[in-house]
């Protein structure tokens, strides 16, 4: 293995991790993660507004993994997970950080990179318009995604999408998406 995919995560999120998951992302896992995080936010007495945003962003980030991850490289330790993903949810000062990780085949990097760059250089109004345009013009893909997940995350959080690709080998990179959901006026 060329690098440890968990190192980046543990560097990014050292304290107050309320959930860590590594493995196959299926429907049951998604349900379990949503229930667990919702429960913890209720117990922590978070404002409904923040709770809803975190919940929405979690749904989209998990279902992005569910619909879009590429298969794992042949030499990767976990060959049984059809949809391998990593997830960390961390409590931070004004909200929560949600970090996801998944393999992306080299052929798909440019497209994903372009998509995020386009979102990140858009104003909030432009993101709203982009969302409406995709909603109204793009059909649901064969993979089951609507192509709206990342746009929705950017719109709901109002924050730039932080991300990085770490080269795994010649054919694969590992993609980390680092989303901040915070309370704002």
């Amino acid at each position: 293995m060329s690098f440890d995919i968990e190192n980046y995560l543990t560097d990014q999120a050292k304290n107050n991790v309320i959930l860590f998951y590594k493995g196959n992302i299926d429907s049951d896992v998604i349900n379990h993660v949503l229930d667990t995080v919702e429960d913890k936010m209720v117990k922590a007495d978070e404002q409904p507004k923040l709770r809803k945003k975190v919940y929405n962003v979690l749904v989209e980030s998990l279902q992005n993994l569910y619909h879009h991850v590429d298969k794992v490289p042949d030499d990767f330790e976990d060959q049984t997970s059809e949809k391998f993903g990593l997830l960390i949810v961390q409590k931070v000062d004004n909200g929560y950080k949600i970090i996801t990780g998944n393999f992306v085949h080299a052929d798909n990097i440019e497209k994903l990179d372009e998509k995020i760059k386009r979102i990140n250089r858009s104003s909030h109004e432009e993101i709203k318009e982009l969302y409406k345009f995709i909603l109204n013009h793009q059909r649901i893909s064969a993979k089951g995604g609507g192509g709206l997940g990342l746009v929705d995350i950017a719109r709901k959080t109002g924050n730039r999408l932080e991300y990085t690709f770490k080269k795994y080998n010649g054919k694969y990179s590992f993609f980390y998406l680092n989303i901040l959901v915070d309370e704002r006026e």
């Binding site: 349900n31 229930d35 929405n56 279902q63 969302y131 089951g144 995604g145 609507g146 746009v151 709901k156």
Partner: protein, 126 residues
Amino acid sequence: MEPIIIEGTPKTPTVKFDATDGVFEIKGRSIPENSVEFYKPLVDWLESYKETPLNKTVVNIRLEYFNTSSSKCILDVFKKLEAIHKAKNEVEVNWYYEEDDEDMLEAGEDYESIIRVPFKMIEIVE
């Protein structure tokens, strides 16, 4: 027409479509991985209802959460309603959102700007 009555689950909404009173409702959470599978029967039902609709149809949308893949399916539901409205029948959408849930209000406004059917935004105050 047989009504559609579906009990809600943690990931799919409660649905009541009844052609006898013309009051339709979608309520709860709509966050399934495969939303097309859930919504297709509703869209098909509306396609049939469109043939002989009541003079007035009221649609209550009271969602707590919905994912982006549901958002496209909900648009398909609205497009059927738009066709009914276009054929000179009264159609009204009541879009409910919880107090302070600006995201849900904005989502309703998105649909209102795309679909030519009168929308009413209704804040639920606890």
